[in-house]
């Protein structure tokens, strides 16, 4: 993974000092809360229902064991012993104290981490495929370019006061695990016929109150022009994005109102002016960064697959976990182990300090000290020898990290909702917990198969409900919590937005409604058909009928 040099370290250290001074000025009363707000937001500090909240960047979801231990240590010292992994590959602490934040940031800097640009109207923490570098269907490790973008966007002088926040996601594989089509910019690495590396550029996707799947504005951008092209997109957006209405300020609205074709023309025209200036990286820098992402030195692991087969045969619970949570790795004898942060009845994405320490220790022993964070709020050990999966699983079991539910109905995304968030209309977490408990029977979950359920407590869509196979959105009805259900969304390569199925349900009817939908699916599905595919084949009618009766 990427290791800071003296330059990167100087930057984060100076940033901590700068923020320390800003906090001092706030506490001394030299800055009002209004003046302090844009400064703290540039450092991931929100003021929430109960306290300040800190959002720590985990760039493109890659963590070292040492970093994860530090996050655990911080959770104990400055929080209440846990942290929350988010859909943008960040970690949130819900209970830090303002006066302690500078020290907390200094601790992060000591392990090459920061909270820069995890909030505010700037280019946010860049996200990527959590299987980067290990996925079998990969053209290139997307973290190379995610790191290039991270550096370029850090304290970018021109793009720090954009109309609205700006999120970039990169994938290097055909399977889209990074939801690139619902980001402000999504990049998909590919090769042209000559074998040259480049990117498909998608601009103007997003969720929130106006969800959109972004259009492709360029099929193939040669890799060496990446930064100048991004700079052109951002400059057009910075100048023309709407600033009169914060709900219309995202780039998706500009692209939509201008028309994708005209928007593309403007970007291309701007790019022509800057494509051969010093905006793009010197070649040596690209190579320097790429070298950090060379694969580790894998063992030969010759008999690993056989050992695994034997262990799977001998332990049915382990076999379930392997089937559900383990994914193929591109190196022989290795596997990708997904760690679910969705125990039955738990809070999706929460991890205790003990759990973080345990995962860090496993990574050190079994995964070249590397951990990934996924946008579905889970963790990954990216390089585990197949014959060591059993040992990994046994340890996970003693920390309640072994739930074999990846991609199943209880592997939900849920936003913090009313429990923490000042903007919420409704609770998300307790609902997620109740649904998870209703489907606690794992055999039933296997039978249902892949089902992505996503819950947001309000229209801001932090829980990605629009792209859930089943989406749940909390709405306010005369002061009462109601939930609207959408069907047929997807955040993957077959991206689509869900359709509202019918009238919303009060809190105590939602779990039943979900169960009704699932039962309706089981009744009409074809062989091996996912919930999503059944919905796409048959449309909403069978589901409407099950929920509301015939007309």
């Amino acid at each position: 993974m990427y290791i800071y040099d003296e330059i990167d370290q100087t930057m984060v250290d100076q940033r901590v000092n700068q923020f320390r001074d800003q906090v001092r000025r706030r506490i001394a009363g030299e800055l009002s809360e209004d003046e302090f707000k844009p400064l703290r937001l540039m450092n991931g500090v929100y003021l929430q229902l109960h306290a300040y909240m800190l959002r720590v960047a985990i760039p493109y979801g890659t963590l070292s064991a040492e970093q994860l231990r530090k996050l655990a240590w911080i959770a104990r010292k400055y929080d209440r012993g846990y942290g929350h992994f988010t859909t943008r590959q960040n970690l949130q602490y819900n209970w830090p104290k303002l006066e302690e934040l500078p020290d907390l940031l200094a601790e992060l800097a000591s392990v090459q981490m920061h909270a820069l640009q995890t909030s505010g109207n700037c280019i946010r923490n860049v996200t990527a495929d959590q299987f980067a570098g290990v996925a079998a269907d990969e053209v290139i490790d997307p973290r190379i370019h995610a790191e290039i973008i991270r550096q370029w966007s850090t304290l970018h002088p021109e793009f720090t006061f954009l109309p609205r926040k700006f999120k970039i996601a990169v994938t290097g594989a055909e399977t889209d695990r990074a939801a690139v089509k619902v980001h402000d910019i999504g990049l998909i690495a590919k090769r042209d016929v000559a074998g040259e590396l480049g990117f498909e550029v998608i601009v103007g996707g997003g969720l929130g109150r106006t969800p959109m799947v972004g259009p492709t504005i360029r099929d193939f951008l040669p890799e060496r022009h990446l930064l100048s092209y991004l700079e052109a997109v951002l400059r057009v957006y910075n100048q023309l994005g709407r600033r009169d209405n914060m709900y219309k300020a995202r780039v998706k609205i500009l692209v939509h109102e201008t028309g994708a074709e005209k928007f593309t023309e403007m970007v291309e025209r701007e790019w022509e002016q800057i494509r051969d200036t010093a905006v793009d990286l010197p070649a040596g820098e690209r190579e320097r960064i790429a070298a950090f992402f060379n694969p580790p030195l894998y063992d030969k692991a010759e008999d690993a697959a056989e050992t695994l087969t034997r262990q799977v045969a001998g332990d049915a619970d382990f076999a379930h976990w392997v089937e559900t949570n383990v994914a193929p790795h591109k190196a022989d004898g290795y596997a990708i182990a997904n760690i679910s942060l969705k125990p039955i009845g738990g809070v999706p994405g929460d991890a205790s300090a003990e759990q973080m320490d345990a995962v860090a220790a496993l990574a050190e022993r079994f995964s070249f000290s590397e951990i990934r964070v996924t946008h579905e709020q889970n963790l990954v050990l990216p390089h585990v020898r197949q014959d060591e999966l059993y040992a990994v699983w046994q340890t996970l079991k003693s920390y309640d990290l072994h739930t074999p539910n990846l991609g199943l109905v209880s592997d939900m995304i849920a936003c913090p909702g009313m429990d923490y968030c000042a903007l919420a209309n409704a609770r998300s977490i307790p609902l997620a917990q109740e649904i998870s408990e209703r489907f606690a029977d794992l055999d039933r979950q296997y039978d249902i198969g892949e089902l992505k359920l996503k819950i947001s407590g309000c229209i801001n869509a932090c829980g990605h409900h629009h792209v859930g196979h089943i989406g749940i959105l909390g709405v306010d009805r005369k002061g009462e919590e109601y939930y609207q259900i959408t069907l047929g969304g997807s955040g993957a390569e077959d991206a689509s937005l869900g359709d509202i199925v019918g009238p919303a349900f009060p809190y105590d009817k939602v779990v039943n409604a979900i169960e009704t939908l699932v039962d309706a699916y089981l009744g009409v599905r074809a062989d091996n058909e996912r919930f999503l595919d059944t919905y796409r084949r048959l449309g909403a009618d069978p589901f409407k009928e099950a929920l509301y009766g015939v007309n």
Binding site: R15, P38, W152, L155, F159, F161, R243
Partner: protein
């Protein structure tokens, strides 16, 4: 309000002239773009420095023909959050070659100064909460820059590929 020019507190030799108010015959005068366009010849025949205000919704491109006749361009920030002026400044400097004084006016706060300077502003009508002398420290708080911008400071990437040079000198150039 204090004026920061080239990172120092300075006397302001310019005055902002509202539309409809006569322009004094000597001393630097900053007028609106519309007025400049209407009274171009009279204003440039004054034999004294002339500057204009370029509102954020006016594209920098509109000034191309006039750029060599202007001594100062003031870019207003009605709210610090409105970041259009950053792009305007870069375009004026890098694309249209403006070499006169580029002045940020309006809601200019301490913690925006370094960003503004990197985009080509060299003077600031400082209205921030803290005192102006203290605000001068803001320019140097972070010495590392990751991008090439108008100030031509050497980016981290360039430094890494020219190892003989010091990684940052913290000044604009």
């Amino acid at each position: 309000m204090a004026l920061i020019k080239d990172r120092e507190l300075s006397e302001d030799s310019w005055v902002h002239i509202e539309d409809g108010v006569p322009v004094p015959s000597d001393g630097g005068a900053i007028v609106s773009l519309e007025r400049w366009q209407a009274e171009r010849d009279a204003l440039s025949g004054r034999n004294a420095p002339i500057g204009i205000r370029l509102d954020s919704d006016t594209p920098a491109e509109n000034l191309v023909a006039d750029i060599d006749r202007l001594d100062l361009i003031a870019v207003p920030f009605s709210q610090f959050k409105d970041g259009r002026g950053y792009s305007t400044a870069r375009l004026l400097r890098e694309r249209y070659g403006f070499t006169g004084e580029l002045r940020a006016v309006g809601n200019i706060l301490r913690d925006q100064l370094a960003f503004l300077e990197r985009c080509g502003f060299d003077s600031f009508e400082y209205a921030g909460g803290t005192d102006a002398t203290e605000a001068l420290r803001a320019f140097d708080e972070i010495e590392v820059v990751y991008q090439t911008a108008t100030d031509r400071r050497q980016s981290a990437a360039a430094t890494r590929n020219h190892p003989s040079r010091a990684f940052s000198n913290g000044t604009s150039g």
